[in-house]
């Protein structure tokens, strides 16, 4: 067993980390969130230069043939810096859906994603919490190059700004879930854009008999793409948890009440201990599950355990961080509340911890 990052992965982390420290500190991030831009084109270009946009794709497709642990390696840093760019949607989800398709148009889109030229959104959620592909209800009419989509997808990150959208929908009434490609500006496509609580550009996208191209995909391929996205999103969440442990520890040793640092109060100290335990548990599960996935051995149960644990523990760490900070933890000005909102969003998407724990319990 080996659960450490390779030297190459460590180098990638160092490089990405230095860039984010320098160009993506919390103030810069907040300026970006509060701007009209859906994300930073500069940062995206920089990610392309680091090879992040090419990482998960095969060399034949112009990618770097990276593995899931490569993605985890830098995704922790994305979490630490609250990166809002649609990496998960465009690269891990839409990109992987396109890459596994033999369709010529799909291959072109992959190239454009890899080069940073295009961003493709991924439309999955249908409201309240579409935890798994098996819960997707939207149904495509027709197939191949002449499929038609009708219905609504919610929380589509980058849905109003992307160059195309990959939609997960059923192949005909009662059919299996499959991917469909829709180009931006297609007739009948309408996106209502908004910002999420975690500072991302998203949209609820309605489809009114929209022309789409079916990207053939096996059920296993769909499941694997979602599972890999869950691992990478979990890495982001674990990165955010680590940041909160550090920030809160620092604050508790600095902030004085009753003449002493609040870390000297046992109630505060024990909360810090619980935060560290939660972070350590979540990180251990992230790393182990990544190694399992890397070995091709991660089961749906393993993924459910990871998603459930990171969701539950992330929430707990966020709430503890706010409580320890007191009033200032409640403000928009400090990063603490933004980390917490990111962790809430990670818990909520792709099924929250209650959903996944129950799946584990169902055996």
């Amino acid at each position: 067993m080996d659960f450490s990052f390779t030297d190459e992965q460590q180098m990638l982390r160092d490089g990405v980390g230095k860039f984010l420290e320098k160009s993506y500190d919390f103030d810069a991030r907040q300026k970006l969130v509060n701007s009209d831009a859906p994300w930073s084109a500069d940062a995206w270009q920089q990610f392309a230069e680091f090879g992040l946009l090419a990482l998960p794709f095969s060399e034949e497709q112009g990618g770097l043939g990276g593995s899931i642990s490569d993605c985890v390696a830098f995704a922790e840093l994305f979490g630490r810096h609250l990166v809002i760019e649609p990496y998960l949607g465009s690269v891990m989800l839409a990109g992987s859906a396109l890459a596994q398709s033999g369709h010529a148009a799909a291959q072109e889109w992959v190239e454009r994603i890899v080069s940073g030229e295009a961003v493709v959104a991924f439309a999955f959620e249908e409201g309240h919490g579409t935890a798994s592909p098996e819960l997707v209800a939207m149904t495509a009419q027709g197939s191949g190059n002449s499929a038609r989509l009708t219905g609504e997808k919610r929380l589509v990150h980058g849905g109003a700004d992307a160059d195309a959208i990959v939609v997960l929908a059923r192949k005909g009434e009662g059919g299996p879930p499959a991917f469909f490609l829709v180009e931006a500006g297609a007739d009948g496509l309408d996106a209502r854009a908004y910002t999420t609580i975690d500072g991302r550009s998203a949209a609820n996208v309605s489809f009114n008999d929209v022309a789409a191209t079916e990207l053939e995909a096996s059920e296993e391929a769909v499941e694997k793409i979602i599972a890999d996205a869950i691992i990478v999103q979990s890495a982001e969440a674990v990165g955010a948890m680590g940041a909160l442990v550090a920030i809160t520890g620092e604050y508790a040793h600095t902030r004085k009440q009753f003449g002493v640092p609040i870390a000297t109060f046992q109630a505060v100290a024990h909360r810090l201990a619980d935060m560290k335990i939660a972070y350590t548990k979540a990180r251990a599960t992230l790393i182990y599950t990544t190694a399992l996935a890397e070995s091709g051995a991660a089961t749906p149960r393993d993924i459910a355990i990871l998603k459930g644990q990171v969701g539950k523990l992330g929430r707990a760490v966020g709430e503890a961080a706010i409580q320890t900070h007191g009033g200032v933890g409640m403000t928009d000005e400090l990063s603490v509340s933004h980390y917490h909102k990111r962790l809430l969003a990670c818990d909520t998407t792709f099924g929250d911890h209650a959903y996944h724990f129950r799946k584990v319990g169902m055996g």
């Binding site: 959620e125 409201g127 309240h128 919490g129 579409t130 935890a131 798994s132 819960l135 919610r154 929380l155 209502r192 908004y194 910002t195 999420t196 609580i197 975690d198 998203a202 609820n204 004085k256 009440q257 009753f258 003449g259 109060f265 109630a267 505060v268 709430e319 706010i322 409580q323 007191g326 009033g327 933890g329 409640m330 403000t331 928009d332 000005e333 509340s337 933004h338 917490h340 909102k341 809430l344 969003a345 909520t348 998407t349 099924g351 929250d352 209650a354 959903y355 129950r358």
Partner: protein, 402 residues
């Protein structure tokens, strides 16, 4: 032991329900439904305050001679229950629940004559200036300074977490008038007639939910009359402690609000498909969780009713702290349950749609619009009015074996 279920009470309930069904304006109703905090939207809340004043129902917990209703415990609970069922904006606590009762208890006749009626009428709204950037849980360490100067004090320093100071016209506050002795000893309690004295500056603080509910208030050589002092100079700590009883323990019962959150969660759950089949409302796990929450809220209600009836439970020195602890943690639990029902539909930031009078349609249901802001805002309940850590310290001090 007995509980009255007299027919008159049912008539009273009908009267209250009728009034709530007819008196509030549409904007007031909207403000009630869009309340995502202890503090309702200011403008509509004060409109509603004035309507209740006209009806004579604005301060049921005040003594009759000062404008209270003289209702029985049962009537007060019926009123609170119907109030919450109608989703009306809760009245703001600073004036009616805090400074008003304080002045009734220990204010001078002049202070009562001057301040109580404008509070009742909703003409005045008071801000509370207690916390400072370096004095949170350790309130007694406050350093905002008032120097006597003739008949005035000159105030220098700042206050923080001054809820709705940007809406207030008056302010009560704690200031340091002496550094001698224990830190609790040099504190004085002041009433400020105006919140726009020369040298005062108010800066709203945007919260994690995106709203400017709290403020920071800065004082630079602000001259205020000494006649605004409540109690003796340097004796403000005991005045503040007296007031805390009203803040933490008394005022309005919280359980009807909490039960209303559960009702709203149940109604939304009945429209929400469960990933395990059927609706969330029919799901065993949801029922298990909301059942426990409702049982805990029921226990808080029992606790409140015993207290209001004069049961010995209310004379326990830990009563206000227990009340605050139980209530604040239940608000958080209820709001977590609400966000779980909303799921991903709670993740959109919809500040504009939340504004009363907005013509922006919410993305999902009105429930999904409020659940996440309520959850986010409720993280403060275990922090403000004495953090729950401080409350547990106080409660523990009342537990000893002998």
């Amino acid at each position: 032991m007995k509980i009255e279920f007299a027919p008159e009470l049912e008539a009273f309930r009908a009267e209250v329900a009728e009034f709530f069904a007819t008196a509030p304006t549409p904007a007031i109703r909207e403000a009630g439904r869009k309340t995502t905090s202890v503090f309702a939207p200011f403008k509509e809340c004060m409109e509603w305050h004035r309507i209740l004043y006209e009806k004579g129902w604005v301060a049921p917990h005040w003594p009759v001679e000062y404008g209270g209703t003289g209702w029985s415990v049962e009537q007060r609970f019926i009123f609170a229950e119907e109030y919450r069922k109608a989703d009306l904006p809760p009245l703001l606590p600073q004036s009616l629940g805090m400074v008003g009762p304080l002045l009734i208890d220990i204010g001078t006749e002049e202070q009562k004559a001057k301040y109580l009626e404008p509070i009742l009428k909703g003409e005045d709204f008071w801000a509370q200036g207690y916390s400072e950037p370096n004095s949170g849980s350790d309130l007694a360490s406050l350093s905002c300074r008032a120097e006597p100067d003739g008949d005035d004090y000159i105030i220098n320093g700042s206050k923080i977490w001054t809820t709705y100071a940007h809406h207030a016209n008056r302010m009560f506050m704690l200031v340091r008038t002496s550094n001698e002795g224990k830190k609790q000893q040099g504190i004085t309690f002041l009433l400020l007639d105006r919140i726009d004295y020369p040298g005062m500056e108010i800066r709203p603080i945007v919260g994690l939910d995106g709203f400017p509910e709290q403020c920071e208030v800065f004082f630079e050589d602000v001259r205020v009359p000494q006649s605004g002092r409540v109690g003796e100079e340097n004796d403000g700590w005991s005045v503040a402690k007296h007031l805390l009883k009203h803040e933490r323990g008394g005022g309005n019962a919280a359980s009807p609000t909490l039960m209303r959150y559960c009702e709203r969660a149940r109604a939304a759950a009945a429209k929400t498909p469960s990933p395990f089949g059927g609706t969330v409302a029919d799901d065993a796990v949801f029922q298990r969780e909301i059942g426990e929450l409702e049982a805990d809220i029921a226990s808080l209600g029992h606790f409140e009713k015993l207290a209001i009836s004069g049961h010995e439970i209310a004379r326990d020195p830990a009563f206000p702290s227990m009340n605050k602890t139980i209530n604040s943690e239940l608000v958080q639990r209820a709001s977590v349950l609400m966000t779980q029902v909303s799921g991903v539909d709670g993740l959109a930031r919809q500040l504009e749609a939340l504004r009363v009078g907005s013509n922006v349609e919410p993305l999902g249901s009105e429930f999904d619009l409020v659940s996440m802001p309520l959850y986010l805002n409720s993280r403060a309940t275990t922090i403000y009015a004495g953090s729950n850590e401080v409350q547990r310290d106080l409660i523990a001090r009342t537990v000893s074996g002998s």
